[in-house]
């Protein structure tokens, strides 16, 4: 499989990465090089094989329902590019 430029643009949009028009051919070439590298996998017989969900046999650990965290606004907001009144600020989002 290979991707066309419209697909590259769509992927970039989904990944929220701005791509200039002049970058598209180059990106397309690189992505197609990788896709052709992985193409051989299509020939592998995976009939009846379970996809891997965890690489080591372990049970999901659970924690008790206790409040052990929070009340650390300063830590949460310490690296914020823009904050006010302990809120993170972003350009207005219109629904």
């Amino acid at each position: 499989m290979s991707v066309d430029q419209a697909t590259v643009r769509r992927i970039a949009r989904l990944a929220r990465i701005a791509v200039k028009n002049e970058e598209l051919p180059h990106l397309q070439g690189e992505i197609n090089a990788i896709l052709s590298f992985v193409e051989e996998l299509g020939a592998v017989d995976v009939e009846g094989v379970e996809p891997m969900t965890s690489v080591i046999p372990m049970k999901l650990p659970m924690r008790p329902d206790v409040v052990t965290d929070g009340e650390i606004e300063q830590k949460v907001l310490a690296n914020a590019p823009l904050a006010e009144d302990d809120f993170f600020l972003v350009p207005k989002v219109i629904e």
Partner: protein
């Protein structure tokens, strides 16, 4: 299950239509801490105060699941008579939004913790439907963006980010707004009985995405629209009706319904498209590699099942069988667990067996009227089950009449919250007069004083009511009405 019932069809310009409704309920799981972090779930903290570094998606932070949220989901599944999946997985639903810090929501897409189940929904005392449950899964709530703090910026608060939600997906088994409302009411009752969600819709702890489509009776399903985030039972009903009308008008005009997400605007009573300028969503679900599959065993599920409280259906059946209540009365009493408990406490108070129907009538009648007038639930009124029990006993023993009993209840509510009805009756001399001699004396007196009325009554026996009133007045309302009636009939020769 639900077949076309002509009473539920909607008349269009070109014939009858059937509305098809399915619901996705998002119920906030009752837990102290979040689904994957130790931050508090408490409502209404200072901005970003109930936020851990995990909830804020700091680099390198990892989720660890809360055992209680898992237990709550399983309990709810049991309450919905649903299949508990002993192995379920968590997936990431990827999309960008400022109140979604990770850039993905951890949810259960492919393998939910709970599979198919059903809810019995009573519509009238003699008509009920079964609404199928498709699945229940656990997922993270998002944070909140405030848009009214500034003209140019949105303010993001992550306090809700990561709070556990149960998404309960119904099958498209409802055929009217009424059925949908009844289903949500019942589901809410079940959640509240179990204690897995408080059902507080004002706080957004229970909200619904409503799927609506219309069709000609007997035809296959049509394209549906999803109305997002409806947050009251009344609005769910209004949204369904508005959306069904819109779709019918659209089709009858020769148009077609497009699958889309819509919003209900309660002030205008209509739904509107949320169609964003964005491309179609592509959530790129895949198993969350930070979590392992959630594996439960039978013993764990059985342990939770053993401690499940009696649920509304079972309680209703028991109230009918044990107390001889009608389906309607039992249904009303079990709608809230606290009311049902109140009823049972009143019936059994003092270890005495008393008339359950009479107790039910008091609770559903005068007490409910008072509670409603104050916007309280029965259990929130200060009237105690023991007081209702005493009241019923006093009537049963003919110590007071029903009329006096109402007055006694009013006295309890208004003045003497702690007093027993017996003490009030005693202190205020409200005891019913059953002494036949005294009643007859009063009757004789009234007859003697009103010869003209006697003649009228003998001609028109319904006039006896006037005499009863006079005798009651003369005895301060305490005379036994039956004894007064008997004496009057005898003396007037009726």
């Amino acid at each position: 299950m639900a077949q076309a019932d002509t009473s539920r069809l909607i008349k269009g310009a070109t014939g009858d239509w059937e509305v098809i409704v399915g619901l996705e309920i998002h119920a906030q799981v009752t837990s102290r801490s979040k689904l994957f972090s130790g931050a508090s779930t408490e409502f209404g903290g200072a901005p970003n105060s109930h936020v851990s570094l995990v909830d804020a998606a700091m680099p390198g932070m990892l989720p660890v699941i809360n055992a209680e949220c898992v237990a709550q989901a399983v309990r709810t599944g049991l309450g919905l008579k649903a299949k508990i999946n002993l192995r379920s997985t968590f997936d990431r639903k990827n999309y960008f939004y400022p109140d979604l810090p990770q850039g993905y929501q951890i949810s259960q897409y492919k393998s939910p913790i709970v599979g198919e189940g059903e809810v019995l929904v009573d519509l009238t005392p003699d008509r009920s439907i079964k609404v199928g449950i498709e699945r229940l899964h656990l997922e993270q709530d998002a944070g909140k963006s405030l848009h009214d703090q500034s003209p140019t910026m949105s303010f993001v608060d992550l306090n809700r980010s990561g709070v556990a939600l149960m998404e309960i997906v119904s099958k498209p088994d409802m055929r009217s707004a009424e059925e949908a409302k009844a289903y949500v009411t019942k589901l809410r009752a079940i959640l509240r009985y179990i204690g897995s969600c408080d059902g507080d819709m004002e706080k957004g702890n229970l909200r619904a995405d409503v799927n609506v489509s219309v069709r000609r009776p007997g035809e296959p399903f049509n394209t549906r629209c999803e109305i997002k985030n409806v947050n009251s039972i009344r609005f769910i009903g209004q949204a369904i009706e508005a959306e069904a009308r819109r779709q019918i008008a659209l089709i009858e005009d020769g148009g077609t319904v497009e699958q889309e997400t819509r919003l209900f605007d309660p002030s205008r009573g209509e739904t509107r498209s949320m169609r964003s300028k964005e491309e179609a969503h592509d959530y790129r679900y895949f198993p969350d590699p930070d979590l392992l599959p959630l594996e439960l065993d039978e013993a764990y599920v059985e342990g939770l099942a053993a401690h499940l409280p009696e649920l509304p259906d079972a309680k209703k059946a028991r109230f009918m069988a044990d107390y001889g209540l009608s389906a309607y009365d039992a249904g009303v009493l079990v709608a809230e667990r606290e009311t049902a408990d109140y009823f049972e406490a009143a019936v059994a108070h003092g270890g005495v067996k008393r008339d359950a129907k009479a107790v039910a009538n008091w609770i559903m009648g005068d007490l409910a009227a008072f509670a409603n007038s104050q916007s309280l639930s029965i259990s929130q009124t200060l009237v105690k089950p023991a007081q209702i029990a005493d009241l019923v006993d006093l009537i049963e023993a003919k110590t007071i009449s029903g009329k006096i009993a109402k007055d006694v209840l009013a006295i309890i509510i208004a003045e003497e919250k702690e007093a027993t009805p017996s003490a009030i009756v005693e202190a205020r001399g409200l005891k019913q007069v059953t002494d036949v001699g005294a009643i007859e004396a009063a009757v004789d007196q009234i007859i003697a004083a009103n010869p003209d009325k006697v003649a009228q009554a003998q001609a028109k026996p319904t006039m006896i009511g006037w005499f009863v009133g006079q005798v009651m007045k003369a005895t301060g309302g305490k005379a036994n009405p039956q004894a007064v009636n008997d004496a009057l009939k005898r003396k007037l020769g009726l």
